[in-house]
Symmetry: C2
Subunit: 187 residues, 2 copies
DNA sequence: ACCTGAACACCGTTCAAGT
DNA sequence: ACCTGAACACCGTTCAAGT
C-alpha cells in the first residue's frame, strides 16, 4: 500500500486542485477518499506545500507527455498548432476542470515558492512546444516565434478560464475559432 | 459609523478577493483591519455569499464607470480599443492584483449562485463595451463584432493571469503587443 | 441601530503512540 | 515502514446578549 497510497494521494489532490485550487486541497477529504486518516498524509508528504509541488510537477510532466504524443501523431506543424487547444478542452470536458496551472496562477499570492516553480515550468513546457511547432512551420523569426508562442498559450488558457465560468464548451470552441480567424493562431 | 462600516467592509473584502480570491475573504482579518469584531460583519451582510456578491457587483459597476470614462475621453474607437487593456494593467500595477472576475471564474465550482451572477455581469459589461467600440469603428458584421469582442476580453484577461504568475508587467505589455501584431485586437 | 463574546464544526499541522 | 488519536490555532457561522 505504500507506493499506492502515495499515488492515490497525488491523484486525489490533483483532481481537487483542478476543481478548487491549491487552497481547496483538503487533507481530510483526500484521506477519506482513499481510506486513510488525514495525519497519514504527512508520512508521504512533509507539508501541504510539498504535496502541492508534487501535484504540480506531475501535472506538467503528464502534459509534456501528452504534447509529445500530439507531436508524434502530427508531423505537420500546422496540424499540431490546430491540435494544441484540445488539451485544454479535455479538462473542461472532464467535469469542467481548469488547467491546474491557471488556477495556481490566480492563487499566486498564497503559493509557497516550491509550488510556484512548478507552475512556471508548466507554462515553459507549453511555450517551448508551441515555439517548436512554429519553427517547424517555418513561421517568423526566432524572436517572433517565442513571442507568438507565449501569446497563443496565454490566450488559450484564458479561453478555458472564461468558458469554465459559463460551463460552456461551445464558448471555448468559439473563442478558439475566433483566435484562428483573427490570425493569432496561424492556420 | 453605520454606512462607513459597510463601505469599509466592502473595500477590504474587495482588496482581499483580488489577492486571494473568494475563498480568501477572511472575516476575522477584515474585522481586524477596520476595527470591529468578525461577528459584526453579519450585521451588514447576511453571509459570506452576500458579501461576495456585493463585492463583485460593486466591482463590475466601478469597471463600467471606468470604461465609460475611457469612451468619453477617446472619441476615436481605435484609440478606445488600444486603451482597453490599461484597466487590466492597472490591477497588476496595484500590488499585482488580479481581476476579481478572473479569480472568481477559477473558483467557479465553489461560488454561490448569487456571486456567479455578478461574475457573469462583469464579462458582459466588458464585451458590450468592446462590441460598441468595434461597431463605432465600422469593423465587421454584428455577429463578427460580438465574437471578436469576446475573444479580446478573454485574451486580455488571460494575459493578466499569466503575467501575474511571473510578477512581470513587461510580459503583460508584450502579450498585448503580440495580440495587436497578430491582428486579434484591431489597430 | 450597531456591536460583541462565546460557542459550533471545520481546517492544516504536530507529535507521541501504536503495529 | 506505515498509520493513528488527540491536540493546537485557525476558519465561517450562529445566537443570545449587550449598549
Amino acid at each position: 500500500m505504500s507506493e499506492n497510497a502515495r499515488e492515490a494521494i497525488l491523484t486525489a489532490a490533483r483532481s481537487a486542485a483542478q476543481l478548487h485550487g491549491y487552497s481547496g486541497i483538503n487533507f481530510r477529504s483526500i484521506a477519506d477518499e482513499i481510506g486513510i486518516k488525514n495525519a497519514s498524509i504527512y508520512y508521504h508528504f512533509s507539508s501541504k506545500a510539498a504535496l502541492g509541488a508534487a501535484v504540480a510537477r506531475r501535472y506538467w510532466q503528464d502534459t509534456s507527455t501528452l504534447l509529445a504524443e500530439i507531436r508524434a501523431h502530427n508531423p505537420d506543424p500546422w496540424q499540431r498548432l490546430r491540435a494544441f487547444p484540445s488539451i485544454f478542452r479535455k479538462s473542461l470536458e472532464n467535469a469542467n476542470r481548469l488547467c491546474l496551472s491557471s488556477f495556481m496562477a490566480a492563487e499566486y499570492e498564497d503559493l509557497p515558492e516550491e509550488v510556484l516553480a512548478e507552475v512556471r515550468a508548466f507554462a515553459d513546457v507549453n511555450v517551448a512546444w508551441l515555439t517548436e511547432a512554429l519553427a517547424d512551420a517555418g513561421w517568423g523569426s526566432a524572436q517572433d516565434r517565442d513571442r507568438r508562442a507565449r501569446a497563443i498559450y496565454t490566450a488559450v488558457a484564458g479561453a478555458q478560464l472564461i468558458a469554465r465560468s459559463r460551463t460552456d464548451l461551445h464558448l471555448f470552441d468559439d473563442l478558439i475559432s475566433s483566435y484562428q480567424e483573427a490570425g493569432l493562431i496561424p492556420a
